[in-house]
């Protein structure tokens, strides 16, 4: 019995940091409507900075002062970020905000390595809390007890702040109606900045307080952000009480899950999250969200199928692409095969997010499942390549069918967070279930059959499949199914009113996109001859998002251009710099801020402007007067 109580207390102690970070995320979201992906990075910065400061400053005052100073310094850094970056994107679509803050995360990761080096850093023990208390023969660190007491105190302070101060009243008002607060004479800019500062302070404090318990490491940002997303999805975005309850719940599930399923304790958390989402899609303490903001511009320039001339041009491009093996060597062909595979991957995500309006942050899950599907079939069942390629992607389909059922119940940021959480679950299974997946060592020796063995043959195979998949997805965009999907994207309510079952349509789209991604993954396994958990990882999911974004979210063909440009750039970048994340993060941030329409979108805008300069004014004068 004593053992279980101790386990319970350990869980409570872990909840402290989780609560601090999650409440910070929730507060920021409440007012600014931004889900700050970089929150994990601020948490990590808090930990590293606290490490340095507590090492330099001596004594108890030095330690505690160092912790608080670290959190304050990171909050000041957060204010800078808010003023330079976030103020430019408050009115952008949610996806862009998530991506920009993810780009920031990538940059901070490399900066942390630059400053503190790649090794884990174990901090000082907290003065006054070095020992442990004996509890019926079990040891409880006193620092854990300190953390257990701290979180309800922080909760109480936040409650007082929001209920008893003018600032708190203004923040709560802004959470509900930003414009009205401005119309009452309150400067939103500074309100937003101060809210962001508080949120970042809480995240950094959470990181700093972890120092005596765990070593600071440069993976801690992504680890915590996934847990935090799960916490806010369960507790309800925007609710501080929800963050507290859910942080305790998730931490306890982790603490006891480890006893029950030592390897895959995350499954328990996942089950709870699934149940909560079915019963209350907006979380235990959250409020039903207003419908997500529409992507701007879609109604202004409707999509159309390719004209005859454009089709001819496409065929011309394909002929040139097919002739590539005649002029280039095997390295170029391998790179070209990889690009073709990523065209499939990006096109599948584009189908989901541009056509379906569902921006997934975990699309790599289905790519990776396709790859693992092939590896299982080839290595364990010894199937021939053709069979593997046909059946392997079905694992992606299966995953998309199961996860898709849950995620389409949500929309907007909740959808993005849940897809990310599911992808992380797939990743942890791939990473931890060593007996089946080989864990970090992956599955090696997945080689193509002789007929597809050469670089040229494999390239033709990849190109052929890419053309088929892209063509199939394109046909679907302009099919009745595609119309229904786009109708649901543009107005869920109106399409439901004309008899479209929106959830079912979206679920179908999710499965189609997952299967297409699985096809890409299947080819990828054969290209590399191996499968690793990386194929399911967050960074791959984000790669796909950046490809679609780079090409242009609002275009039909942007994903293809984006995939080619991004992949080529990426391969080139990795061979030239050690700080690819820094460069990549900066590129992402730049795209979001400077070129939100992407390459193809920008070209299209220029074309339209040149083609019909008079038309826009006619349109304007014909438009109905509305209040």
């Amino acid at each position: 019995m004593a053992f279980y109580i101790v386990q319970f207390l350990t869980g409570l102690a872990s909840a402290a940091s989780l609560f601090l970070v999650a409440s910070g995320l929730s507060i920021i979201f409440g007012v600014t409507r931004i889900v700050n992906f970089a929150h994990g990075a601020f948490y990590m910065l808090g930990a590293y900075l606290a490490y340095t400061l507590t090492e330099r400053l001596s004594g108890a005052l030095g330690f505690w002062g160092g912790i608080v100073a670290a959190a304050l310094a990171v909050a000041a850094f957060g204010v800078l970020i808010e003023m330079i970056l976030l103020r430019r994107i408050y009115r952008s679509p949610e996806l862009f905000q998530l991506l920009a803050t993810f780009g920031l995360t990538l940059m901070i990761e490399d900066i942390v390595v630059l400053i503190w080096g790649p090794d884990d850093l174990l901090g000082r023990r907290a003065p006054g809390f070095r020992g442990a208390v004996d509890f019926f023969g079990q040891q409880i660190p006193t620092y854990d007890l300190f953390l257990i007491v701290l979180s309800p105190i922080v909760l109480g302070l936040l409650w007082l702040l929001f209920r008893r101060t003018r600032w708190g009243v203004l923040v709560r008002a802004a959470t509900q109606d930003r414009d009205m607060v401005a119309a009452l004479g309150v400067n939103q800019k500074w309100l937003f900045t101060s809210v962001f500062a508080l949120g970042v302070f809480l995240a950094a404090l959470g990181g700093a307080l972890q120092i005596p318990r765990d070593a600071a490491n440069h993976a801690m940002d992504l680890n915590i952000i996934v847990d935090v997303f799960v916490v806010v999805v369960i507790g309800g975005l925007g609710s501080i009480i929800g963050a507290f309850v859910a942080a305790v719940l998730v931490s306890e599930l982790n603490a006891f899950g480890i006893l029950i399923f030592p390897k895959i304790s995350i499954i328990l958390v996942f089950l709870v999250m699934a149940v909560v989402l079915i019963v209350r899609p907006w979380g235990l303490f959250g409020k039903p969200e207003a419908p997500a903001r529409k992507t701007p511009g879609l109604t202004v320039r409707p999509w159309r199928p390719l004209s005859g001339n454009e089709r001819l041009a496409m065929i011309g491009v394909l002929v040139v692409a097919a002739a590539l093996p005649l002029i280039s060597g095997s390295y170029v062909l391998t790179v070209a095969s990889e690009i073709a595979i990523f065209v499939i991957f990006a096109a599948s995500l584009h189908f989901l997010m541009s056509v379906g309006g569902l921006a997934s942050f975990g699309h790599a899950a289905y790519f990776g499942l396709g790859a693992y599907g092939v590896a299982f079939l080839a290595k364990m069942a010894g199937m021939p390549m053709i069979v593997c390629l046909l059946i392997g992607p079905l694992l992606g389909l299966l995953g998309a069918a199961v996860f898709g059922f849950f995620v389409v119940q949500l929309s907007g940021v909740y959808f993005a967070m849940l897809t990310l959480a599911f992808a992380q679950i797939v990743w942890s299974i791939a990473f931890q279930w060593v007996g089946v997946t080989g864990g970090d060592n992956g599955i090696l020796g997945v080689w193509p059959a002789a007929w597809a063995g050469g670089a040229a043959n494999f390239y033709w195979l990849s190109l052929g499949i890419a053309v088929l998949v892209v063509a199939a997805l394109r046909i679907m965009v302009f099919s009745p199914f595609g119309y229904a999907l786009r109708a649901t994207r543009d107005s869920a309510l109106r399409s439901e009113a004309i008899g479209i079952d929106g959830k079912r349509i979206q679920w179908t789209a999710f499965v189609i996109a997952g299967t297409a991604a699985g096809i890409g993954g299947a080819l990828f396994a054969f290209l590399k001859g191996s499968v690793f958990p990386d194929s399911v990882g967050i960074s791959l999911s984000v790669d796909a998002l950046v490809m679609v974004l780079l090409g242009g979210v609002e275009t039909v063909s942007g994903a293809i251009v984006g995939a080619i440009v991004y992949k080529a750039l990426n391969i080139w970048l990795v061979s030239y710099t050690d700080f690819s994340k820094l460069v990549l993060g900066a590129v992402i941030v730049l795209i979001v801020v400077a070129m939100p329409k992407g390459i193809v979108g920008t070209i299209e805008t220029l074309q339209t402007r040149r083609a019909r300069p008079a038309k826009a004014t006619i349109l304007a004068s014909q438009a109905e007067t509305a209040e």
Partner: protein
């Protein structure tokens, strides 16, 4: 001249909504902006306080062109705005709603306190701690006006204050507006209800399809039944 709006043009995306709208309000005046649903009344108000992003024209308030300033700065200079949809903060109590509107006193405008507003709207005084979401439509309407008055404005834009209210509450509203006027607040009130406008206003403008098509005293408007029938639903 308290407020002068000159050649105001507003757009929502590609749609041109207001065409060269001009309005003038003298100190202490109550001016009605009349027009049918969708004529452009709310857009005019939203444009004046800067809530419509695409707008052109001059908005001179107390001798200063405020058209380039952000919403909060315009409001802070003493130009209060009461939106049509009321937009109460439903999670906040009556007192907290008033707190959001509170601004420092202004030398050229009457000063309002909670206590003073609770005598103006006695209903509100009885429900200080009730969340805004659990109030009737009439009580919410009073709260929005009281909330804006907490900013001690010298001019208030009142967007359809009588809409959807029972005759008894409308009566109270008329009373409240007359008291505001006595205190020295200039008021622009948008209305579809000519009767209500007659009770409170000195002058009127009529707006139709985003254009001002009549301007004159209430007497002049009464003498022109043709204009009234053409542009107002009676």
């Amino acid at each position: 001249m308290k407020l002068s709006v000159q050649a105001l043009n507003s757009y929502y995306g590609p749609a041109h909504i207001l065409f060269d709208v001009g309005l003038e309000v003298d100190s202490g005046e109550v001016v009605a902006l009349l027009g049918r649903n969708g004529a452009g009344k709310s857009t005019t108000f939203r444009s004046i306080v800067g809530l419509v992003e695409q707008r052109e024209g001059r908005i001179v308030f107390e001798g200063r062109d405020v058209s380039a300033e952000p919403t909060h700065a315009i409001v802070r200079s003493g130009l209060g705005y009461v939106p049509e949809e009321r937009r109460i903060f439903t999670d906040l109590t009556v007192e907290e709603n008033l707190e959001v509107g509170r601004q420092p006193p202004r030398p050229n405008a009457p000063q309002w306190t909670r206590e003073k507003l609770f005598t103006l709207f006695p209903n509100l005084g009885e429900m200080k701690n009730r969340p805004g979401g659990r109030m009737s439509g009439g009580e919410q309407q009073m709260l929005t006006i009281a909330r804006t008055l907490m900013g001690n404005p010298s001019l208030v834009l009142l967007d359809e204050p009588s809409e959807g209210l029972s005759p008894k509450i409308v009566e109270q509203m008329v009373e409240a507006i007359m008291i505001m006027k006595q205190e020295g607040v200039s008021i622009v009130v948008s209305e579809q209800n000519l009767h209500f406008a007659n009770l409170i206003s000195d002058r009127a403008y009529i707006i139709e399809r985003g254009r001002i098509c009549f301007s004159g005293t209430m007497k002049e408007l009464e003498a022109r039944p043709d204009i009234r029938d053409a542009h107002l639903a009676v």
